[in-house]
Amino acid sequence: MKRYFPNSTVKIDNEEKMAGKAIFTDDILCQDALYVVFVRSTISKGKILRIEVPALPDGYHYIDAKDIVKENVVSIIFSDWPVFADGVVNYYGETIGLIAGPDKQTVLDLVRKVVITYQEETPNFELKESVFHKHFAKGDIAKAKQEADFSYTETFRTSLQEHLYLETQAMLMWLDGDKVTVKASMQCPYYVKKAIVRTLGCDPDNVRVIQPAVGGAFGGKEHYPSLLSAQLATALVKIKKPLRFVFDRTEDIAFTTKRHPSQTTYTAYVKNNKITGIEAHVKLDGGAYIGCSGVVLARALIAVVDCYTIPSLEVNGDVYLTNTVPTAAFRGFGSPQTIFAFEMFINHLAKAAKADPLEFRFTHLAKKGDITAVSGNFHDEIIMPQLIEKAMEMSDYKRKIKEYNKPNSNKGIGMSWFLHGCGFTGSGESTIINAHVKLVKEADDTVHLYTSQVDFGQGNRTTLKKIVSDTLGYPEHLVFHESPDTDHTLNTGPTAASRTIIIVGYLCEKAAKHLKEQWVSGKRIEIIEPYVAPPYIHWDEETMQGDAYPGYAWGVNIIEVSYDPLTYQVHVDGVWSTYDVGHAIDERIVVGQSDGGIAQGIGYGMLECMDIKDGKFYQKTISDYTVPTSMDLPYMETVLIDNHFAYGASGAKGAGELTFVGVAPALCLAIEQAIKRKINKIPANPEYIMELVENGKD
């Protein structure tokens, strides 16, 4: 068979996953586990007056807020989400209690018989009162405003998105002696540990979290399992029997976190065909609890003018609470919303200025040494001109964009430029995470790498192992990357924020270098490698000023579409991408991230529709929440161009989120050209396109 990626390694978990031998949470045998079903609110807002639980047969248990051991709060960045609703409910589906018992069907029947009496209150579904506000400015916006030739204002909206990982949320928890022990479909085992310790008020040594295989996550298993684990732990210490549940798909869609809907308004001030200033206001819908929304907002705001340098800015952002399922982490974490908005805006603005959009954008593109939106520096080389040139050549962009401008053409091509900050925002890597990698060479000369990074499909465990074996110059089969288990690994931080390779990968490389220096055959050597931030990084969390990320990855997406004026349906005909991820440790893995990010982005941009009516989602199943199938996508071409990053393993930065953030604007710019109308919101589904074609503006 031809080698398509001659320098790539077969992933460490590849064969077990293909052969159906990988053990996911629902595959773990535990015959005596009680099955858990949650009792949920059936209203969007109100007081709980009375809970009537039916008579429970022997061996069946009901647990709710009155059973909380220490703190009724889920440990998330901003801890306002209760483990169990206590007296009030704030969204339809909020967990009030749970029933556990040996027979699943009996438990389901009992849950249906729980009667809750509420005093209903009027729920809020509008972005009315901000609960979290951020502001920053750059340069002299008053001057820009005063001297402008003209100003231009537009608003953009993005909708909810469901992660739709193929494996639904699942958890198994038991007592090993006194120790609360967990296996779950999760992406951050130490978040789960922290949530259990906090709600139980127990010694951290009394909680052990073990990572099984995970069938996709995309951010949807970053914070939500913390809630689930706190609920199960509360039940476990009372019932003292193993507990488990697996969400069915409808439960998962209806009650787990989603991507934040957003509304972004820009006003640009233009003088001599250059943008001299921008005012922006970004509004995010956080759902019923704040949770991580403040940090999502921070990332959205830092990306507010995408990869462009604008001399003056006035930026405001707000998180609003509504009586709906809380929104939380999802690939891109706020930046897909503003990157979509700004890429559409700058193209619309170029047209309003009667300028060629390509040239207009290029004039504003960030260069090395430029001051970022939050007044930090672009310290590293920016190779966007090469990425753009290559992507245009691959796609034959220049010819097509002219050809598709003809009046009778139903085709379009769109190009997006974008960046993604890798790692936690600001100083989070040193102040919040403080990762430590453990690398051990045993006396038998096998090498064992311990991290808490979870592989939910990204191939990161293979990549980190490869960094160690490459650095040591040691055979891959003698290097083992141990699966996360909080009793044996150190906390290297969550698997999120495109931080695994840029942060943990770099630590792995440093640890391997130290091991190599101390290598003595036949002797056990242990290396603990702590995180140290690059010395030039300065960040003020309060004012949001400084270097927002340790490093940036960059990219270009070009998407070609055709449009059927009879059905208003759009088909994606071609996708071409170029990226600067520093250096790809494993090309096949990075190309795989590109393919998957683009597919999810195309879903976000035109297919995935999630509507709310009276606080409930209309879409309930995979049949009505439509994600891309193999018929919706063409072959996709990806080229990676190296741009060595001084603080990355072999120069590597991050790639997981980068491949998602720019897809919707590339797609919508292509659709705009095909339908000859302006797009201001996603998803651009046939209903919206029909509305635009019938009533929209050119």
């Binding site: 068979m1 031809k2 080698r3 398509y4 990626f5 790539s8 077969v10 992933k11 978990d13 590849n14 064969e15 077990e16 996953k17 293909m18 052969a19 159906g20 031998k21 990988a22 053990i23 996911f24 629902d26 595959d27 045998l29 992660h163 739709l164 990982y165 193929l166 494996e167 639904t168 295989a213 995970v214 069938g215 996709g216 996550a217 697996v246 069915d248 798909r249 939910f456 499909g457 990204q458 096949r588 893995i589 190309v591 795989g592 393919d595 998957g596 990010g597 597919a599 999810q600 199943t621 995979i622 049949s623 994600v627 891309p628 199938t629 193999s630 018929m631 996508l633 072959y635 996709m636």
Partner: protein, 160 residues
């Protein structure tokens, strides 16, 4: 409850279950064949795909009573064959498996396609796998892997 006889991965079985039980549950809970996955429970995602007498079925929609006397093939048995090796090697080379949850179903659907059409075009492969959802790969590597496996099968003169 009823006693139901059928063959799974070349082994005869008799189970005493509710005849309306889902084939998926019987395979996972009674026979512990964990390669069969539940992704949606409504026949929309393809993660539970098995072959029944050589034809692909969503085992989550199939009552056990419908398969009395029939032959079931799941990934747990198929993974021991040369045909599996060809498909799996192509998936490995192109990167067709990421989180791996859809992969067993995807491989079973690929095999079902080859039984009918050992030489599919890209279009035919896309149509044939359109009932199997993958949220990780964008199908790019999967479709390429299917065509690569077909090519390898022809080269080796394999009988699908």
């Amino acid at each position: 409850m009823a006693k139901i006889k059928f063959v799974v991965n070349n082994q005869p079985y008799e189970v005493d279950v509710d005849p309306s039980a889902r084939l998926l549950d019987v395979l996972r809970d009674e026979l512990h064949l964990i390669g069969v996955k539940e992704g949606c429970g409504e026949g929309s995602c393809g993660a539970c795909t098995v072959l029944v007498n050589g034809v692909s079925y969503s085992s989550c929609l199939t009552p056990i009573a419908n398969i009395i006397g029939k032959e079931i093939l799941t990934i747990d048995g198929f993974n021991k064959t040369e045909q599996y090796r060809i498909i799996a090697d192509a998936f490995a080379e192109l990167g067709g498996s990421q989180c791996g949850f859809c992969t067993p179903g995807m491989i079973m659907s690929t095999y079902a396609l080859f039984l009918e059409n050992p030489d599919p075009t890209e279009e035919e492969a896309r149509l044939s796998l359109s009932g199997n959802l993958c949220r990780c790969t964008g199908y790019n590597s999967i479709i390429k892997a299917v065509l690569e496996a077909a090519k390898e099968g022809r080269k080796r003169g394999i009988k699908w």
